[in-house]
Subunit: 188 residues, 2 copies
């Protein structure tokens, strides 16, 4: 990563980050490649490589200001919506660069307070969104559960992250359905 | 890590690795510190630091030949035994060096085929041990479940790894109990 003080380089860095965030928000982490970011930002591919030799680093910097779509705007029935969201999360984490980015962020957060803050924010966002969705399912009578929001989130997300990053293996639709069903009694 | 061809250095490296493996097997990953390994191997602490500047690297090398005690030798009732094993796993992963080691191994496995092999072995061992325990619980009528062994293992282990490494947060006894209960119907 280059932190040049040349104003033109700084502008082009910002343009590339903005492009990466747009791609991230619209098409998910798999779209944040050197080529797509270069096209979108109107710079050469070599410029993107010069700033971020590896795409995980670019994604990491872009994520700081991105509003990720995952688990946003719950839809009724929540049970089916949760399955779709977890399916999407699993598909994104099946892309090696995305899995590597998650591990890099988690690992760097152990030493670097700024990255720890970023990691905590991103984890908190997911927990809060899942919680909001589950609360609405409980309120509407779709779900009965006595687990706390944070535990529910790790029961849904933890196995998917473990399977994709630690086992480097696929998540079946059956596992996704089983995870959703494991958090309580669904009436949908 | 030093890979000296000096036979004396190689012997002392082997002695340190053997010491680390004994500590790992007897007292768990938290015991694999520079100081304990130096004592156990009868070398100076500086020697351990020279070979492995960070304790995760030492643990990583030691794990290659260690027979980890986790999830070994299931005891009846399996439900209570699983809770104890998961509690122990969570307590080990609560040690920052252990969490960092898990993330380091998983991340390095994405690029390095030798580490990928090591990571796969360690994951397969856990899955097989959990599977064996669950099979015996099903055979004895203690548990009814229709999930496959690999899915059951990630449902138990995934949330604990996620909570400790990605959220850098504690695992409550309540979460441990909830995970064990989520994998099927227990009659114990």
């Amino acid at each position: 990563m280059s932190y040049s003080t040349d104003p033109r380089a700084a502008r082009s860095r910002e343009a590339m980050l903005a492009a990466a965030r747009q791609l991230l928000a619209r098409e998910g982490p798999g779209s944040v490649t050197h080529q797509r970011v270069a096209q979108q930002a109107g710079v050469g591919r070599a410029t993107v490589y010069r700033h971020w030799p590896r795409s995980e680093q670019l994604m990491l910097d872009a994520m700081g200001g991105a509003d990720l779509p995952l688990f946003k705007d719950p839809e009724v029935p929540i049970r089916a919506w949760l399955r779709r969201q977890l399916r999407q999360m699993a598909d994104e984490l099946a892309i090696p660069a995305v899995a590597a980015m998650s591990l890099t962020l988690a690992q760097s957060a152990m030493w670097d307070p700024e990255l720890a803050h970023r990691q905590d924010e991103s984890v908190r966002t997911i927990v809060e969104r899942i919680h909001a969705a589950i609360q609405s399912a409980v309120a509407s009578g779709e779900l009965e559960t006595d687990a706390g929001p944070s535990d529910l989130a790790v029961m849904l997300v933890g196995p998917i992250v473990y399977r994709t990053t630690m086992q480097r293996d696929k998540v079946s639709d059956d596992l996704v359905a089983r995870l959703v069903d494991s958090i309580g009694s669904w009436h949908s």
